[in-house]
Symmetry: C2
Subunit: 421 residues, 2 copies
């Protein structure tokens, strides 16, 4: 009888989940999936929860539901606190577990690049909690402006810092929400006068995309009423204020979408990390000292054959997750390891209704066709079946009625300050 190997996977994100799926059907393995949350989060649509189009349950699928039919998979909702690499033991809360193989796929968190105090004055967008906080903040800005129209100018100003996909998508959808969707809902304020400001430090939006698409995105956002400031570096942030080199912006809502960094745990592993804190991995998505440990996704700094660092995007994490799983299976079969190779299938970002940019290899799409590709691919990649139908329906409905489906402030006005959402 074959020996059963223990595989522990930390993180139910894109990378971890692919590894679980790939290993779930093997009888010679015991899989344990550990995550702080009880769900896999479809992060690319997080901004739609933040802008009241989708509900949390539309983009979050309980990890237990995803693995309920995989008898060799145990899900643990817990916080990993330490790893004993010698004895191959992983610690979480007051429990511990022995592993033969470990896949670390714990992802990233919002990075303030050393300005931790800015966290107090801004809202990031990495978790459901963030998205619900932001949704509440945005929805209350309209309510407060309707109650106090004399303050509408400041209340209806939204600053988004960071011109990557998250920043572009947020700017586009806050503009859409305020300028169109909810315009008829208010009597004392004109929400179409809301100001959406997008600040980017570099010379163009979507810097990882083709320059033509960057220009197109800027024009398209401007047509939708977003004010785009390029080459504008943020020097300081205070309550309701953003300072750049040359001026000061005032706004009630300041959103930080300027960057992420790996979870702090990646620095505590005792492996070599890069400046951002990512574990520097070898061509096998592992480290030479501990080939039984794989580090994948946003936690890892993987340099490809051309010397290029792979970007922190979901396709990298997913391919590395499948690779790590395959490599474990090959290890058990005593096959030699083959290096990981990333296949770039392109990237896309949505700007608004009927408008997105997509770059698939040499092919570039923009406008309606880009948007349709974006729509199709996102629905295709949503993991749960029910979610696909529900989101499709919600989107169709929003599209037809110009309505936002999830504009619910979950708590009444008098618990506004004491509870988060």
């Amino acid at each position: 009888m074959k020996e059963t190997k223990e595989v522990v996977i930390v993180g139910a994100g894109f990378g971890g989940l692919q590894a679980v799926k790939k290993l779930a059907k093997r009888k010679d393995l015991n899989i344990t999936l550990i995550d702080r949350a009880n769900h896999h989060l479809f992060q690319p649509l997080l901004y739609q929860v933040a802008t009241a189009v989708l509900s949390p349950a539309d983009i979050a699928i309980p990890s237990r539901s995803l693995t309920e039919n995989c008898k060799n998979v145990t899900v643990i909702m817990s916080n990993v606190t330490a790893i004993d690499k010698e004895k191959r033991i992983i610690f979480f809360n007051d429990r511990a577990l022995k592993y033969d193989y470990l896949i670390l796929a714990m992802g990233a968190k919002t990075s303030y690049f050393g300005n931790k105090e800015w966290e107090k004055y801004t809202i990031g967008l990495k978790s459901l909690t963030d998205a619900l906080k932001l949704r509440k903040k945005i929805l209350f800005s309209f309510e407060d402006a309707e109650n106090y129209p004399e303050n509408a100018g400041k209340l209806l100003k939204y600053i988004i810092i960071g011109g990557g996909p998250t920043g572009v998508e947020l700017a586009g959808s806050i503009a859409e929400l305020s300028h169109n969707i909810i315009r008829k809902d208010f009597r004392k304020i004109d929400t179409s006068k809301a100001e959406v400001i997008l600040i980017e430090g570099g010379a163009r939006l979507l810097p990882t995309f083709d320059a033509g698409l960057s220009d197109y995105s800027k024009q398209s956002l401007e047509k939708r009423g977003v004010k785009v400031y390029l080459n504008t570096k943020v020097k300081n942030i205070e309550e309701g204020r953003v300072f750049t080199e040359s001026r000061m912006f005032e706004a009630n809502t300041i959103i930080w979408a300027a960057g992420v960094e790996p979870v702090p745990f990646s620095r505590e592993l005792g492996f070599q990390t890069d400046r951002a804190g990512r574990v520097i991995v070898n061509k096998f998505c592992s480290v030479d000292s501990n080939p039984e440990i794989f580090i994948i996704g946003d936690m890892a700094a993987f340099t490809d054959d051309e010397g290029k660092l792979l970007p922190g995007v979901s396709p990298v994490a997913m391919q590395q997750g499948r690779y790590a799983a395959r490599t474990i299976v090959n290890d058990i079969k005593k096959k030699e390891r083959t290096p990981f190779r990333y296949i770039d299938k392109g990237s896309m970002a949505t700007i608004g209704r009927k408008d997105a940019v997509a770059e698939l290899g040499k092919v570039k799409y923009k406008g309606l066709f880009g948007w349709l590709s974006w729509l199709g691919l996102h629905i295709f990649y949503l993991v749960g079946f029910k979610n696909k139908i529900s989101i499709l329906l919600t989107w169709m409905w929003s599209y037809l009625t110009f309505g936002a489906g999830a504009r619910v402030i979950q708590s009444p006005i008098d618990v506004k300050d004491t509870e988060v959402y």
Copy 2:
């Protein structure tokens, strides 16, 4: 030119909303709807949010969306703090508004019948916040039990106090959730061993229903594994403990569904109230001293011609809301007021999948047919169109797959204690 009258409606529940709908199209009226929440809540389905079947947005529709096409309706999200009955001014936060007519439909809140300290140890079910708190508590009880199987006995025990519709529906759906839906999700615990205990002080469940349906509900719940204790009065509640006259129950989750009382504001109006705090209204849903003020729904004690107090259920509130609106229109036309008459169309409560009791006049349904009536009527009464499709879809999906659609814990494990949900 006709004078425009100011009508202020407080509360976007069943009563208030019917009044708004009825008055919204009249050009000689200005309507202001004030509510603490930004949404109308379909309370009869709140227990489905609490047991992770539906999402908040499925049963909560923003008041602004409901009235966006009614130009004479202004929605204010605020807390009403006082009324100057002499000058006919209503105060909310630091603002005030003059009214010609006032409809107070502020509803009820959970009542502990003088034992306020029990609130700390139990969870009620009157708002979305309550439902999300309860959902989180229930979902975490399974997670904690999986992490610490040695404590599973206590963690998987759920006490529901109160055998009215809310208690029966909660008991049925917690039993369904634990005994069936999520059973395959866990590896170290058998969730079918979860104990669901329903405690009722009176001699039967659903005391406002026909006695035959009460018996049926009890048997049906017992078949689903719920332990029903009748004639069992709660004497004291402590952390994790419920004391009755003869014994003590221990459980991690204690749900209080034993009763409601009007919002405290009803006692502050200076009108005569009954022992529960409801304003004693005349046959015009008003008070003799202030015919321009209507008090409807759970805030009001209305005694019908037979001397019977109308129950605190949504059909009463809805009919009174429409009546108040009609009476205002007639007042303006100088027509004499006619008394309000309640038409009892019956009541229903669901016990579980394919099982409900319904009493429609002399006709009584139970089992599958009761459930189908319940399903149809609830979908019919859901206000927003999108919600109807989405809920129907969610239900069909849950039904086919035995899955709970919204089993998402919105915050990760380490914010468990500091944030509410």
